[in-house]
Symmetry: C3
Subunit: 138 residues, 3 copies
């Protein structure tokens, strides 16, 4: 069994954003030389997500509006977590969108359907954050 | 390390449905000959889910109603994604129910609790779609 | 490839609770002797979650209130699943919080960001329930 590990870094200037990281993950896979196995991609922060969906700006707008409806940022005072912080909603949004994606590696590639793309979902940005890429296989 | 890969196909005649795929996944495991490791089962489409829960028709009805409340299909025009499409809600429902399940394999079996069953969750059916089964182990 | 398997047991006296299980999972990892690979931690019950987030009591209060808003327990009669049962809401809450966490193991440790902690989320307690810890690697 071989393994590979890398951290990706993000500094998003806004509070929220969705960033397509598929190419960066593919570069990790290439670098690893692993041709068959599993790849785990996870946010190392608890107010951010890694998820797989469509790279379509209308959908990303819809996601943002929808997550704001399900877990509104304002009023900040509605959450007990917000003592010296204002990001309780980000902890909720991250649960809906998920912490991690696990993807099969077959023939040296991400074993994806036609439209699958990997995203970093930021819900409390404006500081440096990390995503872990871990690969095991052969 | 050994590995196994198979695609399962679904053509659901309705927009939404929950299909128990546990037996098909068990057949893959048997075919693989792998007795210890991990199995990944994931939707290859971004408007569908693979998840683990109860095979109880009342619950499935409750899930469908609940998902419609959290991410309504109508009015289609409320979503920016719906330009030439009408499935934005399916992209949301899939995030709540999840893309994938990762299950332990021990003694040649899915290492499950009493009531765990694997489901394909379709949120935008009426066309051919795929689920990936990937196993690594020994 | 080496593997390790253990069940953790919980008997939560209340219907709902969030329990930090990070130390128990770390003890499993230590016992396994595996230094590099992947660890899967999953609820073996379909009305419970394993998830990764912050160990902060205000946030846990917020989560509980938020999940009750998204999938209320009462009135029990609103759910068709509740024939001889009253836990349909628990099946929904578990979908939002997730069944499982997959974590990288690097240098013999959980490969975590600063604030990542593993929780058992109980949504239908007052009976004995299990979490599976499965590790594969070297």
């Amino acid at each position: 069994m071989r393994s590979y590990r890398k951290e990706l870094f993000f500094q998003i200037p806004t509070r929220r954003a969705f960033i397509n990281i598929t190419q960066e993950v593919e570069a990790c896979l290439m670098e690893s030389g692993i041709r068959d196995g599993l790849i785990l991609i996870n946010a190392m922060h608890i107010t951010a997500s890694v998820f797989i969906n469509d790279d379509e700006s209308g959908l990303h707008h819809d996601y943002d509006k929808w997550l704001e409806k399900l877990a509104p940022h304002e009023p900040v005072s509605q959450y007990r977590h917000n003592v010296g912080e204002d990001n309780a909603d980000a902890h909720m949004k991250r649960q809906i969108m998920g912490r991690e994606a696990v993807v099969a590696i077959s023939d040296g590639k991400l074993d994806f359907g036609t439209w699958e793309q990997i995203f970093y979902g930021e819900f409390d940005g404006r500081r440096r954050k990390r995503v872990l890429v871990k690969i095991i296989g052969e």
